[in-house]
């Protein structure tokens, strides 16, 4: 029933890497894609990402719904950008090559098309790596990985608890909402918007109360088994770092370095083909 992306077990080099490496890689990669607007770097990252995706032995159909969702979202954004600022590209690149005049302030310029292409590429560069991170990292390894890159194990454990109890809360929500629907509580189109929101509170209140109860039980259980006793803790699911992990980390640092280097070379974040 769940339409969310999650871990897919498979035998590939990327699966064998530690979660720490993948987390590190994903974060460095994201920063690299965020700071640059250099088309060549972004396209390169996207292609490299696709190659890595291929190596991971994941299948296209496993990600197709996610891609559809993200493309829709990007399309809305692109349209939004054009509607609100048809001259954004001209402003950024400083020239104006008109392809076609439409109406009022709307015309199509090469600069605007190029800007929107770059905007798209900024997402496209991250998507393969984000998918890889989610789908090749065992959730059981998340907390240990976060701890290893320097985040307190306490915060790491919050993430572990979130992942552990999502299915339970989902089940609670479904059961509560069915029982409330039987009492005529509806969140659908047959109610006015404000009533829908008000009705949702009738489902959420029992959910909040049972969650607060649950917090109490879980924290007791954790305390009774010595959580927080020491400054550190070990993790049964932690994997030892291997050669491939160091290669991965070096690679991600290299990509970030390229991204930064190109900013210095270009004298700014943009690669400008118009001058």
């Amino acid at each position: 029933m769940s339409t969310a992306l999650s871990y897919v077990e498979r035998d590939s080099v990327i699966h064998q890497m530690t979660g720490t490496t993948k987390l590190f890689f994903f974060l460095f990669w994201s920063v690299a894609a965020m700071i640059t607007y250099d088309t060549r770097v972004l396209v390169g990252m996207f292609l490299f990402g696709c190659v890595l995706f291929k190596i991971s032995k994941l299948k296209w159909k496993e990600i197709s719904f996610a891609l559809i969702f993200m493309f829709t979202l990007m399309a809305i954004n692109i349209v939004g950008i054009y509607v609100f600022a048809p001259e954004q590209g001209v402003e950024i690149y400083g020239t104006r090559h008109v392809v076609a005049e439409l109406f009022w302030r709307y015309s199509i310029t090469l600069e605007q098309l190029f800007y929107m292409f770059n905007f798209l590429m900024k997402y496209m560069a991250v998507i393969p790596i984000a998918l890889l991170f989610i789908m090749t990292t065992n959730p059981s390894e998340f907390a240990a990985s976060m701890n290893k890159i320097g985040i307190s194990y306490r915060v790491g454990y919050s993430v572990a608890i979130a992942l552990r109890y999502i299915p339970d809360i989902q089940r609670d929500y479904r059961e509560i909402s069915q029982a409330q629907q039987a009492r005529g509580i509806s969140l659908g189109k047959d109610e006015k918007t404000l009533d829908r929101i008000k009705n949702s509170a009738a489902i959420l209140f029992p959910l909040v109360l049972s969650s607060i109860q649950r917090i109490e039980t879980i924290s007791n259980a954790m305390e009774l088994r010595g959580f927080g006793k020491h400054k550190k803790r070990t993790w049964i699911m932690a994997k030892p770092m291997g050669k491939r992990d160091y290669v991965g980390i070096v690679l991600s640092i290299a990509i970030l370095a390229v991204s930064v280097a190109m900013i210095i070379v270009n004298g700014g974040r943009y690669y400008n083909p118009f001058i």
Binding site: A160, I185, I218, L224
Partner: protein
């Protein structure tokens, strides 16, 4: 007695938020390797005492310790919760709340991870513990792929890894079906024998807990220990009944038969019970003395289910080809293992899910196409936990909710709510906040909130789970009263007492099939059927065999006698 390992001396505990101490004058010594059961009605202070042993009191729930509690020679208040956890391993009641890891492996390793055990040893010890509780093959399973009994075994393994001298179980049976409960107790028994650990079980399901035998039973009432003795001696007295704790069924039966109970009869377990020939004769006389009373037959067909099938995928049906009729005025139990299809059936009847095949008819009319809202006007559903149904702070508002959202006129709402509240005995509390009510009263509020819609059938999911005898009786007598007023009641339950005492019919589900449509008497006399439903034999069965009586008729006799006795008592009071 062997070396003392737990010693309460003039002990008491007062929570910071309470004016009076919750437990007082506790003097209790527990020796190494002893098996102790602490019983008492809800609110008697047994959980407070347990929390004092493992350090949740006062370190998580602040309060003041009066007197002294020594564990393995150390004063408990000087140790802190982590210090105490080296001596006392606790298994809690809530099998999901205490399953913290994402898989069995991680959950068992949790305590050792916190102790910074290095990975190699961590893995070795985790696997050993998993093996001890027979879960090696489930090591990578997530909690939602495990049954309640398996989850509890994981928790047990999680405390075993530290080799603690004291194991404490806080109501270990409350969330388990009888067969899983029996297995859990067997496992505790086995581990206790192997390690000579001291075991303290807090439980009000005494007969089930006693399956492993106990050295002593501590009975608590109103924050004090009122009895500290061997099981046999306790059963020979009337102290349990006075405290509102249910006696084992065979003890009740012997009392009905007029057998005078003595502590030298080995009353602690049915398997060890010693009856003289004269006593067996008494039981026989009681069995033959009164005439059978026939249970009333219901004839008017109310609901009829034909060839009902449902599954999220075509391949795996949760329910397949189920047909049965429900007659007006019935009180029926729906039994079966977890995942046998009971809840699926309830969801289909209430329209929460739609069947793939088959039809549901109410009074001859096909209601398969009705949506949840329409269905609710004839079939009401009451969830197990009232806290998951209550969405308003005040009683009146809560009961009125379904009528308010239907935009009925104010006068009609008030009239119908008042009527439902009167039926549920809550009328005088109508302007109270729900938080001021007891669990049993909250349950009644949720039932009232369903009854305002005037359903003909009520489906209840585990109406008595985790309740002590007093609350059990309160809830069940109320349902019986509703039933008398014409509401047909279907109950999904594991509670064997409920089935015996309050139902006349049992629908048994296994692997999505309805495998038996029978009476509780037949059910409890059929070993295979009981196994399929994850129930277990009652001790009445063995008692009948012991006295050379036919078990089925004996159980029947007991049920009839018991019901008559209770309704007579009711008339007197």
């Amino acid at each position: 007695m062997k070396e003392t390992i737990i010693e309460f001396k003039n002990f008491g505990y007062k929570y910071r938020s309470q004016a009076e101490p919750t437990v007082t004058d506790i003097n209790l010594k527990i020796g190494k390797g002893e098996r102790i059961i602490i019983v008492g009605p809800s609110g008697c202070g047994k959980s407070t005492l347990a929390h004092c042993l493992n350090g949740l009191n006062p370190f998580s729930y602040p309060g003041e310790i009066i007197g002294s509690l020594k564990i393995c020679g150390h004063e408990s208040k000087d140790m802190g919760i982590f210090g105490l956890s080296k001596f006392v391993g606790t298994v809690l009641q809530d099998t999901d709340g205490q399953f913290i890891g994402m898989t069995v492996l991680e959950d068992i390793a949790f305590a050792m991870e916190n102790d910074m055990v290095e990975q190699e040893e961590l893995k070795k010890r985790t696997l050993q513990a998993a093996d001890k509780v027979y879960l090696l093959d489930k090591i990578e399973s997530a909690p939602h792929d495990l049954s309640g009994g398996q989850k509890q075994r994981v928790s047990l393994a999680g405390v075993l890894v530290n080799k603690v001298p004291i194991l404490m179980f806080d109501e270990p049976l409350a969330n388990l079906d009888p067969a899983s409960g029996k297995k859990a107790i067997e496992l505790i028994d086995e581990i206790q024998k192997e390690t000579d650990t001291t075991v303290v079980i807090i439980e009000h399901r005494l007969e089930d807990a006693l399956y492993m035998g106990a050295d002593r039973i501590i009975l608590m009432v109103d924050g004090k220990i009122v009895s500290d003795t061997t099981p046999s001696e306790l059963f020979a007295s009337d102290r349990l009944a006075e405290a509102g704790i249910r006696e084992p069924l065979y003890i009740t039966a012997l009392k009905y038969a007029g057998v005078k109970l003595e502590k030298n009869m080995s009353l602690q377990r049915i398997q060890e019970l010693k009856l003289s020939d004269e006593q067996k004769e008494l039981v026989k006389m009681w069995f033959y003395q009164e005439k059978w009373e026939q249970i009333k037959e219901h004839t008017k067909k109310l609901l009829s289910v034909e060839k009902l099938s449902f599954g999220y995928t075509e391949k795996a049906y949760n329910l397949s080809d189920v047909s049965f009729d429900v007659y007006e005025g019935e009180m029926t139990g729906i039994v079966g293992k977890n995942g046998a299809g009971k809840s699926t059936l309830a969801k289909l009847l209430c329209g929460f899910e739609k069947q793939n095949k088959g039809i549901i008819c109410l009074e001859g009319k096909d209601i398969s196409e009705d949506n949840i809202k329409e269905r609710a006007k004839t079939i009401g559903y009451v969830m197990q936990n009232p806290n998951q149904m209550i969405s308003k702070p005040m009683i009146f508002e809560e009961v009125a909710l379904s009528l308010e959202v239907a935009h009925l006129p104010k006068e009609e709402i008030e009239e119908r709510v008042h009527k439902a509240l009167k039926v549920c005995g809550l009328y005088e509390f109508r302007n109270w906040p729900i938080s001021a009510l007891s669990y049993g009263q909250k349950k009644r509020v949720t039932i009232a909130s369903i009854l305002v819609q005037n359903p003909k059938i009520l489906i209840l999911d585990e109406p008595t789970a985790g309740q002590d005898f007093r609350h059990y009786t309160e809830i069940m007598e109320f349902l019986k009263e509703l039933n008398k007023q014409g509401i047909t009641v279907l109950m999904i339950t594991h509670d064997m007492h409920l089935l015996l005492e309050y139902t006349n019919r049992s629908l048994v589900f296994s692997d999505g099939h309805l495998i038996a449509d029978t009476t509780p008497v037949e059910l409890f006399a059929d070993k295979d059927l009981l196994e399929d439903a994850n129930l277990k034999e009652t001790s009445l069965f063995e008692l009948a065999n012991m006295c050379g009586l036919p078990p089925k008729e004996f159980i029947h006799k007991f049920i009839i006698y018991d019901r008559n006795l209770r309704s007579r008592r009711e008339e007197v009071s």
